[in-house]
């Protein structure tokens, strides 16, 4: 099984790294930067896992539910 997990800071959480990166984009001439948010993308290849198990891993290990949301996509 191949899966991609995307972990993002929750919308209400300030992402200072995203803000700083957005400012750098403006320095490079990009106009009208409204929001930049930085998360992680985790690619997984695993034999014999079921989706429920992967969701548990996403919730318990790959994301911190206090401040982050995750999205699990099963590719194949």
């Amino acid at each position: 099984m191949k899966a991609v997990v995307t972990v993002m800071p929750k919308p209400a959480i300030l992402d200072p790294a995203g803000v700083a990166t957005g400012q750098a984009m403006e320095h490079l001439g990009l106009k009208g930067v409204r929001s930049v948010r930085i998360g992680k993308s985790i690619e997984i290849e695993v034999d014999g896992a079921d989706e429920k198990q992967l969701h548990e891993i996403c919730h318990d290990l790959l994301s911190n539910p206090v401040v982050e949301d995750y999205k699990l996509e099963i590719l194949s």
């Binding site: 959480i13 290990l61 790959l62 206090v66 401040v67």
Partner: protein, 237 residues
């Protein structure tokens, strides 16, 4: 003679304040501090557990997120549930939050900088086994050294820990005023350290073990360890 307080200092791969904690603890008479490797699965016989600072597992994924699943953490949970004192310093605080033994989490410092400096903490509450020999409003001079110390909890959790007096120390200025300027990382409410609902688990970002000997420039960290010793002594009496 048997020690009054036997402490396990947990060593994770990447811990780097473990021997500092051991040395600070050993400077108190009646204390025996032993390094316990994270692959161990029992903490039987210990009166207290310290999760030291450092960069467990290289801080990969999130600070403390992998250490939280180390074999020893099952025993730390059992110890915490049975009332044993558990102190998490810096990375140890992050691990306790990841493990759910303390509420909330520690995010990247708002200014994105790793802050390594001395600053002041105000003692908010002395009704705990970690602050009992201190007095309310006392200002402690204790260093920080972290990049992820920005304490965050959702509003309901924050209201709960406030109501239960779980906030034990806040960042303050030299006169003890809790101000935005004294906050090194944008922690909610200048929170530097909180205890559990049961009060026997305490996590803080500053490093009390680094100010336990005048030769290191201060002794303001000693009160926290002294409080633990008194609590253990009282419990055994």
């Amino acid at each position: 003679m048997a020690p009054i307080m036997k402490v396990a200092v947990i060593q994770f791969p990447g811990s780097n304040c473990d021997t500092d904690c051991q040395a600070a603890l050993a400077s108190f008479s009646g204390v025996r501090a032993e390094i316990v490797w994270h692959k161990e699965t029992s903490l039987a016989g210990y009166d207290a557990v310290v999760l030291p600072g450092g960069f467990s597992y290289g801080d990969y994924l999130r600070c403390g997120s992998i250490a939280r699943f180390s074999p020893i953490m099952g025993a730390v949970r059992v110890a915490a549930d049975s009332g044993v004192l558990v102190l998490g310093i810096c990375n140890g605080f992050q691990i306790l939050c990841e493990a759910g033994l303390l509420p909330g989490t520690l995010m990247r410092n708002n200014g994105l900088l790793f802050r390594c400096e001395r600053l002041q903490l105000r003692v908010e509450n002395t009704d705990s086994p970690f602050t009992s020999v201190l007095h309310q409003g006392q200002v402690l001079d204790i260093p920080i050294a972290h990049g992820e110390g920005n304490y965050f909890a959702d509003p309901e959790t924050l209201a709960q820990i406030e109501a239960n007096n779980q906030i034990l120390v806040r960042y303050c200025d030299a006169s003890g005023n809790v101000t935005p300027e004294a906050n090194p990382n944008c922690s909610l409410g200048n929170i530097a350290g909180i205890c559990s609902h049961g009060r026997n688990v305490f996590g803080l970002m500053p490093h009390p073990e680094r100010v336990c000997d005048p030769i290191l420039g201060g002794i303001d960290g000693r009160g926290i360890f002294q409080s633990m010793i008194e609590a253990v002594t009282k419990a055994k009496a």
